[in-house]
Symmetry: C2
Subunit: 286 residues, 2 copies
Amino acid sequence: MTLQELGEDALVKQLLAGLPSHESVRVGPGDDCAVVQVSAGTLLLKTDAMVEGVHFLRSTEPERIGRKALARAISDMGAMGGRPAHALITLMAPADLEVDFVLRMYAGLSQLASEYRVAIVGGETTRSPLIILNVALTGHASHPVLRSRGQVGDLLAVTGSLGGSIRGKHLDFTPRVREGTWLAEQGLVHAMMDLSDGLAKDLPRLAKASACGFAVDDSSLPLSESCSVEQAWSDGEDYELLFTCSQAQWEVLQTTWPEGFAPLHRIGHLTSQPIHSRPGGWDAFD
Amino acid sequence: MTLQELGEDALVKQLLAGLPSHESVRVGPGDDCAVVQVSAGTLLLKTDAMVEGVHFLRSTEPERIGRKALARAISDMGAMGGRPAHALITLMAPADLEVDFVLRMYAGLSQLASEYRVAIVGGETTRSPLIILNVALTGHASHPVLRSRGQVGDLLAVTGSLGGSIRGKHLDFTPRVREGTWLAEQGLVHAMMDLSDGLAKDLPRLAKASACGFAVDDSSLPLSESCSVEQAWSDGEDYELLFTCSQAQWEVLQTTWPEGFAPLHRIGHLTSQPIHSRPGGWDAFD
């Protein structure tokens, strides 16, 4: 059965069955807006879109497409040292798409939402020639970590390994919320971001935001299996944390980094030299 | 110059110049997430997408496309009796689109944001074969009005006039935030929603959510100029408020409805009959 045959209201009814909620949700999907209860303080806001043919292929398992759509936004929360809370999903899809495909995308998305305690509180469905999933996500951080707080002399570090994400990690990566919130709450980080467009694109962004330059020792890059240094710089979609900290913070990290967290690697430092860029990485319009 | 020639980072830099902000914004566009300050209480959340060829044509003035994308989401805030606060914008566009087209869309969007005191705090740009604008919006309501609180015997009323929106109102409509928040704050409304898919589609949704049926006197429908009753039911994109209230509330409304607000029209009432539908209106996948 296709979306057109089922119709919008019946589709929405099926999608809503089994979406994860949360005690903070006063009005979930089905009204003009969702209504959630929040405490006074800082609220994190993020939006992210996945476009068929750009971020995934129609031949990908639908569960993994749905999972990735939410995981990308959750990764940004972790990179601020925050935890995700409430999500809104926009589904754009061709009228002749099979209903089953959509249900499976939402199953993947819901599974990840449950794991990260994200309540799906609303969204929208609309027709489009391509499948597109847009996720809008709120979150909380007691100590938001910005990418602009790096200091000259800070060490540069990353979690996990870099490169070769296209072999599967770009779909199945683990958003580094545990690591990001821990770093923020322990006060062991100056600046942080997640690596979505590749180190070559993202590191200059962090350095520029912090009014610094950077120096990286290529031999220290944690390469994913059978990846080259160039791939580690340029493949993109690593969804690892890139952060800066002082030498003193790094020494504490060496002894306190919890077991089970993604491995840490020091890759370089921030410099006072003029900001410079590096070829490679992902440009949305290139 | 096209988006591809300019590149993502330079485009984002141009888009950010002149976006409206607000004193509650701690971190605006440019980091992994936006960070805003909120008070304890209820937060409204809404997401809405506009797809080229579905909700607008490439030949439309870009300012009006941008305006409509935000206005649709603001209209939903008004329909909850709430005020909009912070917006995130996702721009999906072909790499060969002229930069000027995008800047003009954002100019229209920013103009409306300023009028409604909406801070644009972030977003994303990505490649897509079509132009798509997705807006995620937060808001506040001291007394959120749901579509499910209608009662048997409630009067049904609408603001403004219905039908013929395609002649221009679907682009240039005024989101009914003043009227919606006033109704909510005066306690003169039971259930409310905005008319986006047409009375024929939306009224049954409100009635069903309230576990009621409905009766409408066709001769009482406020028709837009040179529109038929059928157009008032089915054209859609009116972006007027549909609400229910008691007879006593209606009598108060007759004497207290502020000058300058959109005109009010009583069109029928909620019944105890089984829920029924009415042909017509807009289905996203039809």
